[in-house]
Symmetry: none
Subunit: 225 residues, 2 copies
Amino acid sequence: MEKKLGKVLVVDDEKDILQIVKYNLELHGYDVQTAENGVDAIDKNKSFKPDLILLDIMMPHKDGIQTCIELRANPENDNTLIIFLTALSDERSEIRGLELGADDYIAKPIKPKLLVSRIHSAFRRIIKDDSKTIIFPNLEINREKFMVKHNSVEVALPRKEFELFALLASKPGRVFLRNEILEKVWGNDVIVGDRTIDVHVRKIRQKLNVDYIQTVKGVGYKFEI
Amino acid sequence: MEKKLGKVLVVDDEKDILQIVKYNLELHGYDVQTAENGVDAIDKNKSFKPDLILLDIMMPHKDGIQTCIELRANPENDNTLIIFLTALSDERSEIRGLELGADDYIAKPIKPKLLVSRIHSAFRRIIKDDSKTIIFPNLEINREKFMVKHNSVEVALPRKEFELFALLASKPGRVFLRNEILEKVWGNDVIVGDRTIDVHVRKIRQKLNVDYIQTVKGVGYKFEI
DNA sequence: TTGTCGATTACGAAATTGTTAAGAACTAAG
DNA sequence: CTTAGTTCTTAACAATTTCGTAATCGACAA
């Protein structure tokens, strides 16, 4: 099964709309569930835990605004995006929705392409943070946390060691020439001896116990899982 | 001086619009600067470092789309929101803008209330993290009361210490560079000595007895429970 | 065997952070 | 406006960690 981009819960009382939206989002790789009213939406949110909720404002059994308020009241949903979806294209309700903690607003009638674009855009904001992490089985390198997690054990690497390791891991399998490493980790103008790199490599190997870094004689080093 | 909500750079070639937008945003507590074209915008972005850029699409000297591409190419602006502002209310350009990495889209003619709402909403996403109370086992950080409750004992921290601690705790595990800390706790224009951060860290450690703050040499500090 | 290249080790230099105390800058109360 | 009490910043020095080097060892190939 193809990996899904993210989970979206669509809430609207018109089945036609649910269908159109569901179809279009699934086409673009999202995992979609639907709800027909606010009560239903809050239930489905609990079980499905979507990343994003598309919420119609005008609905029987708890309208979208009320639903939004309730969702936002629960800190569990802090990271859930809420986008209102509504026929009321007047300024007032748009403002109200945004003030209530919604993240965006899409006016009906729905234009599929625009819808998908907005949702892509919304997701881009969510996943931006993860992009700074390089993940392998048993190994996680987080540039933001300056941390290497190896077999669920966090290992702290000093700056040079970390930068060297992260550089190699950024392109697994690719061999980095010694010159290249010097240039990227130490900078073009700093001059350090030949053994410096080796020593750092050694320290990394020592700290991780496993030999992720392989020597390519006469050439340089490469990262291999 | 009242504390500003955030920094906004408004880019448009029509001076009327710049004025209207600037006026309305300043009225609501934002720190606003303006630019009249893309080239100017990129300059001002460097010096002003806004949190959000309102970008007109149709402009002489580098249009908004091109400007957006250039801004997004620089990882320094990863956390800068970009909202397009344009008279082209057709679906096409809206999609294009969003695909390019813009975060939202506001159609002209500008309705001041709506504009302000959207911007509030956009900012809410940025500052979501420093809202209210951060809770961990045995530790509770309350931004409103400026209180830290540690093992059910309330500890009062002075402002700088509190802000520093709250900043680190807002993203547990993540390392904050010294620069980042200075910028966020002290502000971009204040210049303080090198040992200032250390001294504050020490005082926090002292008052809480437990070492929630860890040093990452050569990099910065991080919070870890 | 010998030469080359990387691995390893230990040590001193350099860089960075920790600690302390003093006084400057602020605040709140009178 | 003064005073008393905090809070903030700085500076000097101590402690620690990281960095780079040199010396030596080991593997491998010619």
